[in-house]
Symmetry: C2
Subunit: 228 residues, 2 copies
């Protein structure tokens, strides 16, 4: 990594001069000023990917929700909270030669979010929440006019991982899906390791369980090959 | 703070030998393995209070949700996620001579939380969430058989702060309420300063806006007086 960073600093990395967009972390969807709905995501895998792409010389725009780990040095950081904000930041960051969409984006937002703190009304019943479907950032980028040459999505599943992820790749129109099993028993969510399967037009390739940093370096190397 | 810490280490603080319970941080209520509902809370104020009580010599049990700031050194840390877990940890930590309930506890949990990740079903409608009211930790402690001599609650409000907080004190049965206005415009939520009003049987006492550490030291000193 140190050699790669020096190489990148000298402009010699395989991704030198390439702009790559990475999304990371959870989105938070407000219910009222003090409550929100969130996806579990430490941001560790997306942060490691951004760092690995930077180490290969890429110019990285890093669009991140409120993550537990700090963003990498040497990348352009755009902080967002909601899925709608993330979509706007992604669109503002395009064009890019590749997009790696590692963020855990909420499928739904609260349509009737309150401007003031919701109070118990004494009935024991919560305020009724109405939900609206969020924009699909991966599909929007994959099918948009400014589509990067390579679009990589993520699928965090707890059952039928390969089937869900393969269907997701076709449905969204992205090139690759990085799929993993985030069932609590795996310890992957919030942990330092990951076990992923890379799904492309050529099929599914399962990588052994390894550190999230190692997953990131391997994925970044594959991205560099694809853009070469 | 250094002199107080030395004093405490030598067993000379005004709270020497006293057990004080502090709750802090948000609770997270699962929707499914990858989604949850949360309260906004950095845990900064509760953490500062625990540290200030420790500096006065107290033996502190610190029950905390997933906070943005690390717990203080020199206290017994009990980590929890949900309101139900927080209540159990609080009851296990009693008896105590004082309890400072600074955590932002969710009023409701998802009654039909799923063991597997909920999927979009193609209708554009989210899965129906059913809510159940969470146990009221402040009221349970205030009205329980092992009630501490001094119970301090918090009220984070966005409107009618004093009226809501005064009503809360009576309804819960606690001794003091530390009330503050967490409207986004105040910058208090997630910030380093706080502006609180201490509500007791004697009335309401508004403190000037100051660092959260300073609020904590002032509150700890008042607790020491009350237990003297």
């Amino acid at each position: 990594a140190i050699l790669a960073a020096i190489d990148a600093a000298l402009g010699g990395g395989p991704l030198a001069g390439r702009h790559v967009l990475v999304t990371s972390g959870p989105t938070h969807e407000p219910i009222d000023p003090v409550r929100y709905i969130a996806n579990r995501s430490s941001g560790a895998q997306g942060t490691a990917i951004a760092a690995a792409l930077r180490d290969l010389g890429a110019r990285v725009t890093f669009v991140t929700g409120t993550a537990e780990v700090p963003p990498p040095q040497g990348v352009t950081v755009v902080r967002v909270e909601t899925a709608a904000q993330m979509l706007a930041a992604v669109q503002a960051a395009l064009p890019a030669e590749a997009a790696v969409m590692a963020a855990a984006v909420a499928d739904w937002r609260v349509a009737n979010a309150a401007g003031q703190k919701m109070k118990k009304d004494g009935t024991g019943q919560p305020p009724a929440l109405e939900f609206a479907e969020n924009p699909d950032i991966l599909a929007t980028v994959s099918q948009g006019a400014q589509r990067p040459r390579l679009v990589v999505g993520f699928a965090a599943e707890t059952t039928d991982v390969l089937a869900h992820a393969t269907a997701k790749r076709a449905r969204k129109g992205c090139d690759w899906i990085v799929a993993n099993d985030v069932s609590p028993a795996t310890g992957i969510m919030g942990g330092s390791e990951n076990a992923v399967t890379l799904i492309s037009a050529e099929g599914a390739e399962s990588w052994p369980r390894m550190a999230k940093d190692a997953v990131a370096r391997r994925l970044a190397a594959r991205i560099a090959e694809a853009l070469a």
